[in-house]
Symmetry: C2
Subunit: 231 residues, 2 copies
Amino acid sequence: MSRKVNINSCNVCAYKSFLFSSLHAKDLTRVNLTKKEMEYDQGEVVIRQGEKINKFMYLKSGLLKISQDIGTVGNQFIGLATPLDFIGLLSVFSQENYQYTITAVEPSSMCHIELELMKEIVKRDGTFALKLLEKMSSMNEAILRNRLQINRRNLRGRIAYILLYFCREVYQSNKFVLPVSRKEIGELINMRTENVIRILSEFRKDKIIDISGKEITILDTGRIQQICDFG
Amino acid sequence: MSRKVNINSCNVCAYKSFLFSSLHAKDLTRVNLTKKEMEYDQGEVVIRQGEKINKFMYLKSGLLKISQDIGTVGNQFIGLATPLDFIGLLSVFSQENYQYTITAVEPSSMCHIELELMKEIVKRDGTFALKLLEKMSSMNEAILRNRLQINRRNLRGRIAYILLYFCREVYQSNKFVLPVSRKEIGELINMRTENVIRILSEFRKDKIIDISGKEITILDTGRIQQICDFG
DNA sequence: CGCGGCTTTGATGTTCATCAAGTAAAGTGG
DNA sequence: CCACTTTACTTGATGAACATCAAAGCCGCG
């Protein structure tokens, strides 16, 4: 179950230099005093699609899944959020309610600030506003680029792409434990579970990767890159 | 060829109420004095991918194509911009250079403001900053939603989707002239030209639409909607 | 007029989803 | 803790959806 944790000072948080560095001492203190830090277990839902947005949230550590219910058709897995990402990335400033469901796929620690306070600071502190604009802009661009990249590839290319994504963007290691099921990977890169499995097995047979349950080791980065580029 | 046109007052522009309504008289005057209004012919390139970003641009009238060169593979057609959209939507505040190429697919009229002036106003006017944040946020969300919608449909569903998109979002009419070639539609919704044509013909035979060159008339909105929903 | 790009249709082959069936793993209640 | 249920994983077979190839008509443009 999610739980509130000891309040740490914002002064020692990686986020300070990322976003709040320019903040006036007075505002930083207010953020420090009103923020709430929460921890979530693996599998726990952080935000449910449709809930009212009243917090500005950001991920301090862990890994989150961003997805969307699409009626009977199933679930669209849109992407992952890694530390320093804002949550509710797209909707925070434009919608009343969350358009996406956020789930912790690894134990995660997050900070909340009242959205009203955020808006207040934006209104008062233009330098901060500009910085926020830049961050949101580049985050949105990254998500879109990812989706475009995935959808123009064939299945083998998609698997190669997502493996390199985990390797480079999430774990910074050739060896990692998949944070999601093969079914979910299928939802993320628009293909059937069976084909996710088939192609992973194929890569294993070709000695491009090694698989042991959810643990993946990339053996031949060059080949994977090649499949990603030309697939 | 693109050309500068008579300067109209920002006071009578639709954009004023859309974005600049809260601006102080002083800032509005500055915008008014330094802005440039340009007109572009059909087919003219407005922005070339890679160019330095130094203007904040918005579309007053016409229709723009947003696309991206992706090496040898061809061209990714990302979406269209309709009046009141900002241009360089994603990159303006996060990148040095444009990530996308913008082309006028209908005669278009645009306004430019120096990006530095924009940033200056953002810094000084928090209410404006917040408004801009909201607009950018909702624009980005719309683009992403579109891409997700397109990619989870089969080919008939994609064609139905894009026809309804033109009908509802762009032309507000059941009868419209396609602003782009069938090849480009294929690039927009990730399918081959031949299949774009085949499915359009199929819809024509089924008396769901009428085709005359680039002119399309949607005859049976209900059926199209159904194909869009279940395809 | 002739060239190149767009459009169209048909034929063919590949890729991928679907169906089926079985094993393994993980959660659940007695 | 064990039987039971459910969910995840895996492989093979089949057919549908889609890309590709080919050929011809069309249209605008130098």
